[in-house]
């Protein structure tokens, strides 16, 4: 198994690549929404990422001695109407195909995405992790009213500031799955040809419905339906172990790891710990939640998973470098445990 670090656009710097190497990471996952908004990319956010841009990104990661394992998340502007079944969906799906082809050419093997309308919504922040570390979670009593999603918004981001007043209304599970099926049928063949794997993130918070809209994978077993919908080696999971452990499903997080690792359906892993389950949970420091993380790593290894794991989120620590120190602790823990498991000592 390989250790990676997920980096947001403002963290995609040589300085952070050096930090990643120092703490023993060998791979980077680039989380790209916001790339344009931050001015790092001088074109509007709805423009597909070009081959040159992607190659530059990969080269800068490689120059630091690291591999670019995946890109995480399209810009909402890239595919808002694919999610909303809007009039621009044909134009947008063509843009997504361009992105996947460009990734293939640039040698970036995985595209992580989250097919979600409400996105990561309604979570609260509080000093809930060990030592009062700042953590995020979903707390039923503190969740905002699940108002319907305003027009022009998807994934918690405004994609059309000029949208007419009103909301997108209710979206049923049947509607959502039908949109998703179309998306996969269009994109999977392109991904297969480009040698890129599409990796679906589950819905966080994993509620069956949020803001009047259905959610796709809010129980672990729903991944089966995803893989059956368009069977392909390019149709995989961005297996957010944290989100899966927040779910109330027929199978638990350990069974989910076993099943989807065995089926070779895990493209990469978000390795984080959680206390509680939906509708009351919060994110914990890696060795301090409900999940036996050593057991989880043993299961990935036992069932043949040999891909990348990133810590995903980690509570911020009280020091000059809250995010980096939190990640460093998680990666130190993971590196030691993975080495012992792979040596047969744990």
């Amino acid at each position: 198994m390989k250790l990676g670090l997920g980096l947001y656009p403002h963290l995609l710097t040589q300085e952070n690549f050096r930090y990643a190497s120092q703490v023993g990471a060998t791979h980077v996952v680039a989380h790209l929404p916001g790339w344009s908004a931050r001015g790092q990319r001088p074109v509007p956010a709805d423009q597909p990422w070009t081959y040159e841009e992607l190659l530059d990104l990969r080269s800068s990661v490689n120059a630091a001695g690291l591999e670019l394992a995946a890109i995480e998340n399209f810009e909402p502007h890239h595919w808002s109407d694919v999610l909303l079944d809007g009039p621009r969906k044909f134009e947008q799906i063509a843009g997504l195909k361009t992105i996947i082809r460009n990734m293939g050419r640039a040698g970036i093997p995985v595209m992580g995405y989250n097919f979600s309308l409400a996105g990561v919504y309604g979570r609260a922040t509080g000093p809930w992790a060990r030592g009062g570390a700042k953590s995020v979670g979903y707390v039923r009593d503190r969740a905002p009213a699940p108002d319907e999603i305003p027009n022009g918004t998807v994934w918690n981001m405004v994609v059309d500031a000029d949208a007419p007043p009103g909301t997108i209304g209710r979206v049923s599970a049947d509607q959502l799955w039908s949109r998703f099926k179309w998306f996969l049928e269009e994109l999977v063949p392109v991904a297969e040809e480009a040698g890129v794997r599409l990796a679906l993130h589950p819905d966080d918070p994993p509620l069956g419905e949020l803001r009047g809209t259905a959610r796709l994978v809010w129980k672990p077993e729903l991944y089966r339906r995803v893989f059956e919908l368009v069977p392909s080696e390019a149709n995989m999971a961005e297996f957010c172990q944290g989100t899966v452990s927040e779910m109330n499903g027929d199978i638990d997080v350990y069974q989910a790891i076993e099943e989807f690792a065995t089926a070779r359906k895990i493209a990469y892993v978000h390795f984080r710990n959680v206390r509680g389950k939906v509708p009351d949970y919060s994110e914990m420091i890696v060795d301090d939640g409900d999940v036996d993380m050593v057991r989880a790593l043993r299961l990935y290894h036992k069932h043949g998973y040999d891909g990348v794991l990133i810590p995903d989120h980690t509570p911020g620590l009280k020091c000059a470098a809250p995010w980096h120190a939190g990640m460093a602790y998680a990666i130190g823990w993971m590196r030691a445990t993975i080495a012992l498991i792979e040596r047969g000592e744990a």
Binding site: Q22, D287, A330
Partner: protein
């Protein structure tokens, strides 16, 4: 064995940071924030109680506190007479005895200290992972062969000063129920000739074995710096484990500096725990097998321009150590 950390600065922020990292035991090197140390070097109980209470609020216990006998060059020592055999040493030892009694009265179980003349000599830095810089020592690169202010210090001279000190303080430690944890000499230097004329007798495993026999007492033992012990060895991978198996069952490991090196006697780099010559998991198991029950503290960490305060490096080392402990304990619980 359990996770620990050495803290030179006990602000509330630093305490919260280590609590977040799961640290519940520390070695306190900060005698200033809570005014533990008086101007004359004696310690006051109120300060000791205050710092314990502050730590307790974070679920942290002070296992160890540092005597003012650091790993510093002789001219920078507050109490230079002890290791140089100067006339001032009797007065200095009286202060140390008072520190021990105060520590016992405050209910802190252990004091760590050094019997040091040369500080911690190194010969530069080696570029490592991600551009991190590793402290490096290579005797071939050592250039200053002048005698120190102490002149030639033979092994006999040094042993005499060590014995003089131990014979006076260990009985007080016994009365006070405070364990004294001595750090070995970092690095080991040539056994014949020494470095700058100073023979570092606590710079070999044999020297450490002699040291623990000087005053037979359960309160006399080691701040077992695994990194320094590695620096004494031709083959650290095997000899370090042997050393743990020697000192552990004798009850002499009071705390551990848990760090790794690449190389060995007279030529080494201080590297990350996962890339050195010593198998750190084998070391954890050796401690557990030997019956030791002490803190594993990260000690020196690599230097990094992207981490001037070292928070990231220490967080990494603590996470790494925590995992080794967690796995070792869980396998034993089966």
């Amino acid at each position: 064995m359990y996770l620990g950390h050495q803290m030179g600065n006990l602000t509330e922020e630093r305490l919260q940071w280590v609590a977040q990292l799961g640290v519940q035991h520390i070695a306190c090197e900060d005698r200033r924030t809570d005014s533990i140390e008086n101007e004359d070097g004696t310690w006051n109980i109120d300060g000791l109680r205050r710092v314990q209470e502050r730590c307790d609020n974070w679920g942290i216990k002070i296992d160890v506190i540092a005597l003012n006998l650091p790993s510093q060059y002789m001219t920078r020592q507050r109490f230079p007479g002890i290791m140089r055999g100067l006339p001032s040493r009797d007065a200095e030892i009286e202060i140390i005895k008072q520190n021990i009694r105060a520590t016992g009265e405050a209910g802190i179980a252990c004091l760590k200290y050094n019997l040091n003349l040369l500080g911690v000599p190194r010969t530069g830095l080696t570029k490592g992972r991600g551009g991190a810089m590793y402290s490096h020592f290579d005797i071939e690169k050592w250039e200053d062969h002048s005698l120190t202010e102490a002149g030639p210090v033979s092994p006999e001279d040094m042993w005499a000063n060590i014995e003089y000190f131990l014979e006076r303080v260990v009985p007080v430690a016994e009365e006070s129920h405070v364990r004294l944890a001595c750090h070995p000499h970092d690095p080991a230097v040539p056994h014949v000739g020494g470095l700058r004329g100073v023979h570092c007798v606590l710079g070999s495993v044999d020297g450490m074995k002699l040291f623990i026999e000087i005053v037979p007492s359960a309160f006399h033992g080691l701040n077992f710096c695994q990194g320094t012990v590695s620096e004494m060895c031709i083959d650290p991978a095997t000899e370090v484990l042997e050393a743990i198996r020697y000192f552990g069952p004798r009850g002499k490991i009071f705390m551990v500096h848990f760090r790794n090196i690449r190389g060995g006697f007279l030529n080494f780099d201080e590297v990350y725990p996962d890339e050195g010559d010593v198998d750190m998991f084998a070391a954890v198991n050796a401690y557990l097998d030997s019956g030791a029950n002490a803190m594993l503290c990260p000690d020196h960490v690599p230097h990094s321009e992207v981490d001037p305060q070292g928070d990231k490096q220490f967080s990494y080392c603590l996470g790494h150590t925590k995992a080794l402990l967690q796995v070792a304990h869980s396998l034993r619980a089966r």
